[in-house]
Symmetry: C2
Subunit: 220 residues, 2 copies
């Protein structure tokens, strides 16, 4: 990962909160980002990535659990410039295979372990590991369940980061009439997760308007 060829500056238009920082992408990462764009794979926004990398830089986690690998972009970005081991769960076979390919190409297969399962059923695969950071970026309807299942494996002083908390602004949108029934259901579930998180007295949680809305929850 040493051969960074391009420095991509975070676009301030997109980023309400991150004013200045740079993310470095080498050819392989640029290819992964291009694939995501062409194939409509939702990957973490640049400002969200800057924020997450800062949190990792401060926390220096040893073991990270990621719910929602997609094509491996955020795993690769988290593993790059750090020493952490990542366990990441993906249920979609096409995504899983693409992630494996990308992680191998970036030579990070010794530190990133991709588990091909529905995250609701992968607890046994990781139950003997203690995590310093859990990153949830998967099916939004299941956030509360993911949180409840996997935070059992959180180390003392561990933390959880959840992306998509604002869901393109829809969580704060009161204009329900314009939403389809399934979208309305999803928004309601995310709102419930907000409540759940902010009322969970075992954690100090803050939601930031960074990325697609990122929640940081620190175990008290």
């Amino acid at each position: 990962m040493e051969d960074a060829k391009e420095i991509v500056t975070v676009n301030v238009e997109d980023a309400k909160a991150v004013v200045t920082n740079t993310l470095q992408f080498d050819d392989k990462l640029i290819k992964i980002r291009d694939y995501a764009k062409i194939n409509n794979v939702p990957i973490i926004k640049d400002d969200g990535m800057v924020f997450l990398k800062m949190l990792i830089d401060i926390k220096k986690p040893i073991n990270i659990l990621e719910i929602g690998t997609a094509i491996g972009y955020s795993s690769i970005m988290m593993a790059k410039d750090s020493n952490c081991n990542i366990y990441t769960i993906e249920r979609d076979e096409k995504m899983y295979n693409e992630a494996l390919k990308n992680i191998n190409e970036c030579k990070l297969n010794d530190r990133i372990n991709v588990i091909f399962k529905d995250a609701l059923e992968a607890f046994d695969d990781v139950k003997n590991i203690k995590f310093d950071l859990i990153f949830i970026d998967a099916a939004k309807a299941q956030y509360t369940k993911f949180f409840e299942i996997y935070t059992k494996l959180l180390n003392k002083d561990g933390m959880v980061v959840c992306d998509n908390m604002l869901f393109h602004g829809l969580v704060n949108d009161t204009n329900y009439e314009n939403m389809s029934r399934s979208l309305r259901g999803l928004v309601r579930k995310l709102k419930n997760f907000h409540e759940y998180l902010l009322n969970n007295e075992s954690y100090n949680s803050t939601i930031y308007d960074i990325g697609d809305g990122m929640a940081v929850s620190i175990l008290k």
Copy 2:
């Protein structure tokens, strides 16, 4: 500090990036905030405080150096709910005395040490201490000097947080004609500090539109 009587919710109007979190203030802290308001003492904004407290919560610093005590509000907030020792520097005598009074009233004088000096001349007072976090919130014209002087005392993996990086938005304002000469000078100095920080390869720095613009710089 156990008797929090009021929960002040961060005002989202003010806070571009912090969507949800609460800060707890007891009677003494409410008095300090009221004093600041009445006497035009600039104290850290609520969203900036939420962000700073999150960083402390993740980092768990042992020793914190603060440049710019003012009336002790941020020192008290940082010391509250944590175990850190704080060394804080203030050159204004009235502020210094008010800070001492407030810190005593909050019974935090065993963990907060206020140094009555110009920060440009206080290096010898702290030169034998290693800091995990340096928080700069003082005379904006001197940020580069403060950074250069005191980061010598930063521990491995230490970090620096600077408030007022956007200076009420003036740093990104190109309408110089409406600024007085001294204000223009100050904005230019802050812009130079931005450049200095982002080009300083010993640190990973990100500037956030939180508080009055907060920079987080992590020693590589």
